[in-house]
């Protein structure tokens, strides 16, 4: 668990390689939507490219559940971005 004024952000698979980052801690003092979080990340993190993170097939999970872009991210959450899954 990370501090309540921060969120943990994770990137997986091809997205992790394209952005050259696997995780970062990001300050968040009040709840914002996933779409707003993407805007914030693009603005404040040099490593985050909007075209890559907003690609049509990229999925977002908040606290390990896949959500849509209007989902509210609360401080203390774990947010993950990843491409479509290919296991099994």
């Amino acid at each position: 668990m990370i501090g309540s004024q921060m969120i943990k952000i994770l990137f997986f698979a091809s997205l992790k390689e394209q952005l050259s980052i696997d995780a970062l801690d990001f300050p968040l003092t009040e709840s914002i939507t996933v779409a707003q979080l993407v805007d914030e990340l693009v603005l404040k993190e040099a490593s985050i490219d909007r075209d890559i993170l907003s690609a049509e097939d990229i999925l977002v999970a908040v606290d390990q559940t896949v959500v849509s872009s209007d989902f509210l991210v609360r401080p203390g959450s774990e947010v993950a971005f990843f491409p479509p899954v290919t296991g099994g």
Binding site: F82, P83, T86
Partner: protein, 153 residues
């Protein structure tokens, strides 16, 4: 219903998993299992290796949820899902799904449902090495269609 869900780098033993399912209860009459292995050819290219990545924590939660859904639709006495991650060679085991039921129809249905769900829902990603080049695989349309057949109208 007894569940065993493991994501691991190491290989696993099919006998051990089968014995686990047989021993769940003497009510067990049928066990259906699926074993997925690394093929040496994919989309025309020679595959020399496979790297599997996953989202620790979320993956296990998803697999438990998938088994629970299967168990709500069919009669399931026990379920085992083992999925490997890391570097794998052609011929190596990737995934094992085993379902123990009283009657065989339930075991077949639940096992295939869990496999189809794993393929399109669980947070695993495969990177394939083909003659020196590595590429991330993309979702197969056939896998999406395979899952769609389980939709309840």
């Amino acid at each position: 219903m007894i569940k065993k869900v493991v994501v691991q780098i190491d290989d696993f033993d099919v006998n051990e998993e089968t014995a686990f399912l047989v021993d769940i209860s003497k009510e067990v009459g049928g066990i259906n299992t699926f074993l997925g292995t690394v093929r040496d050819v994919n989309e025309g290219d020679t595959v020399t290796g496979l790297r599997l990545e996953h989202y620790p924590g979320m993956t296990e939660k998803q697999i438990h949820a998938i088994i629970d859904r299967a168990s709500s639709r069919w009669s399931v006495l026990g379920a085992v899902v083992i999925h490997r991650v890391g570097d794998l060679q052609p011929g190596e085991k990737i995934v094992f799904v085993g379902i123990a039921s009283k009657h065989r129809g339930d075991a077949f249905r639940a096992c295939e449902y869990v496999m189809d769900s794993l393929k399109t829902e669980a947070t695993f990603w495969k990177k394939e090495v083909t003659e020196g080049e590595a590429r991330w695989l993309t979702t197969r349309q056939t896998d999406v269609e395979a899952l769609n057949k389980w939709q309840v109208d």
